[in-house]
Symmetry: C2
Subunit: 220 residues, 2 copies
């Protein structure tokens, strides 16, 4: 017994210190990728922000592309869980007989509210994550990442929306869904434009405005 393990298998649990640095590196990468984009954020910038040597970023994150994908995927699962939990809760509360469709507004709220809540009140990391997703959503280079991280949940909601709007066709619903996601992400990337155009000092919570806008848009 106790035969030699394969070389590529872990033989020791990672230390708590290393787990902490790894998270610090991912947090720094998240922030800098969000602020400056994939090409604009350098490994050395990320290392400096994490208080660490450059080579260590490669050690924990692999190649720059792999690091990017990892950082995107990290919170995607949590976000999906929040969204699906909200949807399940709404369904459970609606009726015990599960066939009837949820009202459209409630479906959209289950999709939008977790994202907006986290990016607005989840601290600097979630705020950066929102802007990071905007990069992923707008550049076909990240299509694979988007499909892997967000399409499964998106399909669940698309189906639910289709149930709430029985006579709408698939392509139209998909288009409206992308419009909605874009408008949602604009709260992360373009708040400065809203403030500038309205000549106000700051923009308050715009969740209700977004929900109104998208619900009416879907029904059109």
């Amino acid at each position: 017994m106790t035969e030699k393990l394969h070389k590529n298998q872990r033989q020791r649990a990672p230390s708590q210190r290393s787990l902490a640095t790894r998270d610090r590196i991912f947090d720094a990468a998240e922030q800098l990728f969000a602020d400056r984009g994939f090409e604009g954020a350098s490994i050395r910038d990320i290392a400096r922000a994490a208080g660490v040597q450059g080579a260590l970023v490669s050690h924990h994150g692999g190649s720059k592309e792999a690091l990017f994908a990892t950082v995107v995927a990290r919170r995607a699962e949590e976000l999906s869980t929040l969204r699906l939990q909200a949807l399940a809760a709404a369904k459970a509360q609606a009726q015990s007989d599960a066939e009837s469709a949820l009202p459209l507004r409630q479906v959209l709220h289950c999709f939008l509210a977790p994202f907006i809540h986290q990016t607005l009140h989840g601290g600097a990391n979630w705020s950066a994550y929102g802007r990071l997703i905007a990069h992923v959503s707008s550049n076909p280079r990240w299509q694979q990442i988007a499909q892997r991280c967000f399409d499964p949940t998106a399909r669940v909601f698309l189906e639910e929306i289709a149930k709430a709007l029985p006579e709408a066709d698939t392509q139209k619903i998909s288009a409206c869904f992308v419009f909605m996601v874009s408008a949602m992400l604009s709260l992360c990337t373009s708040r400065w434009r809203i403030v500038g155009l309205s000549q106000a000092e700051t923009a308050e919570d715009l969740t209700a405005e977004l929900l109104d806008f998208c619900e009416a848009g879907f029904r059109a």
Copy 2:
């Protein structure tokens, strides 16, 4: 008379050849900035795409930031003209007495249609320009450029929208306007997502869908 001209003034008309290369450089920059973002597109990439030596890009475009700003501004004026002409034409056709407000849908159409038409049927350059504007709109780094190039026209339309929706407040209208711009830009940046989610082969013309979505959103 015929005194010495100041050194920084032109003493000769630029040759047609140089005007042509300058445009080739700007076109290449437009394409590459759109595809890879500001940091992802190198001066040398742009030069190669334009069939020119790297130093010539700096000669015609100045610093990289100045080149970016120039390329954004180049078509912005034409776009503004198209939008304002459409608005003026709609007003002229509506009534000779100019006080009455245009219908909301017509105002939005005057704003959206020129952009969509150009980016869809204006060739590869305009298609790239649409994606370029998406970069500008989502990164606060380009706030000054956005203000200079797009805010004046935006304010005209905001005012027109406010006239069509007398009881809506300014901040709400500004928010909806940014939602609309984001959705509009998503047609340039995220068509691949619509196609992927709807599991169709290609996405047809989605102008009507966008207009429906935004008009209903504003009215909500």
